[in-house]
């Protein structure tokens, strides 16, 4: 016969297992951010003239299409993943003309510097938790646009 508290024990074991898994999944080093920067090109053209460009994944495309942008297609130009310890700064070259410098300010806050042809053009500070992403964009030639997406990755 089943003991009356056996279901409680099962539930307790399940909860403990969940907490252990959650604890193990936590970042190894406190304050370190695992980031990903993606350079995206927005256009109304169906295909990119550069064969190296590939369409952004459907999830990202869906997100971008929900934004108040006018472009119908988005192509991934480059993607860079990097780790950033607290107070550390890293320079990322997304293309020949588009470079960014990212600094981890701690508490999941980052500071991003945008460079065009080596010249500093903009600086953005933003809290970037795991579910958040920061998209910076601007006009490009022929009524197209560029975007840099920065987000945390697992």
């Amino acid at each position: 016969m089943m003991r009356p508290w056996s279901s409680t024990m099962r539930l307790a074991c399940l909860a403990l297992a969940f907490l252990i898994v959650t604890a193990l999944a936590a970042p190894v080093r406190a304050g370190e951010l695992k980031l990903e920067a993606i350079l995206i090109w927005g256009t109304d053209d169906e295909k990119s003239p550069d064969p190296k460009h590939k369409a952004v994944d459907s999830r990202l495309a869906k997100k971008l299409k929900k934004m108040p942008f006018k472009w119908r297609n988005y192509f991934e130009v480059n993607r860079v993943k990097f780790n950033l310890a607290e107070d550390q700064t890293q320079k990322i070259e997304l293309s020949k003309e588009c470079k960014i410098k990212v600094r981890n300010l701690g508490k999941s806050t980052v500071e991003i510097y945008f460079f065009g042809k080596g010249e500093l053009v903009s600086k953005i500070s933003q809290s970037l938790t795991k579910d958040e992403c920061l998209v910076t964009g601007g006009n490009a030639a022929n009524l197209t646009a560029w975007f840099v997406m920065l987000r945390q990755v697992d």
Binding site: A12, L16, L19, E97, F114, V121, S122, C133, G137, A141
Partner: protein, 160 residues
């Protein structure tokens, strides 16, 4: 002669009847030869067995003897009712598990119904004279968009 009367006859022989019942039985015996024959038979049997009964004498009083039996029965009942002892680690597991469940429920509740986001608005600085910036925030998608309004012919716009 029914069974009840037969039993009553045995009780009569053993002297266990009330005066009233005794009178009733004696009245029946006076008029019923079958009853008398049974009484004789029962008496003979009792007399025959009387010599075989052991004269058992208790070392204590009758009341004390029975009270010992009663205490023993009560002790056994108490032992039967007492629950099986639960090991220490199991006793600890139940409150620990309950606490873990509470923490889990609290965490899920906070994630589900707590503040949607503690994300602060992006702070934007531009370093070109003819540039501007516009910020758009989508809470559902967890996305902050900063639009830098550089002219398309700007060098920065040539991102490749």
């Amino acid at each position: 002669m029914n069974q009840d009367f037969q039993l009553k006859l045995q009780a009569y022989l053993d002297g266990e009847l009330t005066e009233r019942d005794t009178r009733e039985v004696e009245a029946v015996l006076a008029g019923d030869p079958e009853a008398r024959a049974l009484l004789t038979e029962l008496r003979n049997t009792t007399d025959a067995l009387a010599d075989f009964e052991t004269d058992l004498k208790l070392p204590e009083t009758r009341d004390f003897f029975w009270s010992k039996i009663q205490r023993q029965i009560q002790r056994q009942d108490t032992l039967a009712e007492r629950p099986t002892p639960v090991p220490f680690w199991r006793r600890l597991l139940i409150p620990t598990g309950a606490f873990a469940v509470l923490v889990l429920v609290g965490w899920i509740g906070f994630k589900s119904f707590g503040p949607a986001s503690d994300t602060e608005a992006a702070v934007v600085e531009t370093f070109l004279t003819d540039a501007g910036a516009m910020t758009y925030r989508d809470e559902v998608e967890g996305m902050t968009v900063v639009w830098l309004s550089y002219p398309a012919e700007n060098e920065f716009a040539e991102f490749e």
